[in-house]
Amino acid sequence: MNDLLESFAANADEIGIALAETGFMLAFSLAAAVLIGLPLGVMIFLTRPGGAQQSTPLWSVANLYVTVVRSFPFLLFVVFLIPLTRALYGTTFGTGAATFPLCFVGVAIYARLVEQILLEVPPGILQAARSMGASSAQTVVSFLLVEARSGLVYALTSAAISLISYSTVLGIVGGGGLGDFALRYGYQEYDYGLMYSTIVIVIVCVLLLQTAGEKVSAALDRR
């Protein structure tokens, strides 16, 4: 137990940095999920076959993107993106560059969740929007997103937790973060105590996120 505390104290700075790196990667990929994934999910919902703004080309492209990114083994996806990452960032190494592939995944995961949640909005809501002469934009903003808001927050929580999990792989391109720390300072140094305590930190982070997401989601839900 003392050993554990000692190695923990000795590595406190490193753990702090790793936590910040994870936070950085999560913040940017979540921002991408909301700013790009949400509109993309709405578009997939509207343009789907039988949807309000049916458009096979748009739907096919968006749907293909989501499916491909989600089924691509993440590690290989990171490697696959290296040329693009280099072109954009000038480097393929470090937390900033590592966040790039994570953003793609965040967008894809959240777009799919958004689509699923919108499919569950009662059809009567769309009927009401149509009968009031709402434009497409009004239908989305004043009807769909209002009725789906608690589900959308809850789904964002799930997306965040998945992204934490994905981010642990990014040590390979120098992304850092808690997963990478546990691997390099814990596993590779045979300091299993440190490894498991880092994992506990990750679990606590996930629990906090989950609880916060549930609270916000419930507060938004008047059903």
Binding site: P122, A128, G133, S142
Partner: protein
């Protein structure tokens, strides 16, 4: 001038879905200020007829005039604007559960970038929900929800209100209240009301005419006999149960 023009005119209107014919060559005139009941069995084409009147469904043959315009000659945007002048009340209320009663009623105005708190307060009182303005739909009974939906339909002061089975989800007593509210609406605002229902009692209680649909065909349109009105308004659930069950 306005009195003379019918609210809606259907001339040989046919609607088909693939092989199926939902409406078969319907001729019907809806006069300003009337309450007309559209009755028929499930699948007869009642909702399809409402959708034609709401410029949602385009006939595959025939001509429609709603509020003096032919929806098929309008652009999609103009059809939306036409729809804003027609109120719609649904069987399932179709209110936003994450919006308060007041916000739900204000929604049609908000879509037109209009605000009219005084009118909304007036309508809230009119439908008897003055004290419920800041509640959410989940906190209201079925009858109250339908009152909110009616207030929402009236907030744009439409000349025509289309009701699709507005009382089918309600009990007898509440049904009578809602029907009374619809009759009052016509009396107080001169609103033309199309009432789709399978409940003959409802048609007898408030309609001037009934149109009977069967398999997409309009079988007959006839005036409601005065005797249909005279069914005593039930004073209690017990009285109703006694009458129906004959105790």
């Amino acid at each position: 001038m306005l009195q003379a023009t019918p609210v809606a005119l259907l001339d040989g209107v046919t609607v088909t879905y693939g092989q199926a014919t939902a409406l078969d060559s319907i001729d019907l005139t809806i006069d300003r200020g009337e309450i007309i009941g559209i009755i028929g069995e499930s699948g007869a084409g009642k909702s399809t007829l409402l959708n034609v009147l709401d410029a949602v469904e385009t006939p595959s043959a025939g001509r429609v005039l709603v509020e003096g315009t032919d929806p098929t000659e309008l652009s999609a945007r103009e059809r939306r604007l036409l729809r804003r002048r027609i109120g719609m009340v649904f069987q399932g209320f179709n209110l936003l559960s994450n919006r308060t009663v007041r916000q739900n009623i204000a929604l049609p105005l908000k879509l037109q970038r209009r605000r009219d708190p005084a009118l909304i307060a007036e309508l809230l009182d009119y439908v008897g929900l003055g004290d419920y303005a800041d509640r959410y739909p989940a906190q209201l009974s079925g009858g109250q929800l339908q009152r909110v939906a009616i207030a929402r339909a009236l907030v744009t002061r439409p000349g025509l209100v289309l009701c699709d089975e507005p009382t089918s989800a309600l009990d007898t007593r509440t049904t009578e209240d809602i029907l009374t509210l619809l009759a009052d609406t016509r009396r107080d605002f001169g609103t033309t009301i199309v009432l789709v229902t399978h409940e003959l009692d409802a048609v007898g209680a408030i309609c001037d005419r009934a149109a009977v649909l069967e398999n997409g065909s309009l079988m007959s349109v006839f005036p409601i006999a005065p005797s249909a009105r005279e069914r005593p308004r039930e004073t209690s659930y017990l009285a109703h149960a006694r009458r129906v069950l004959g105790a």
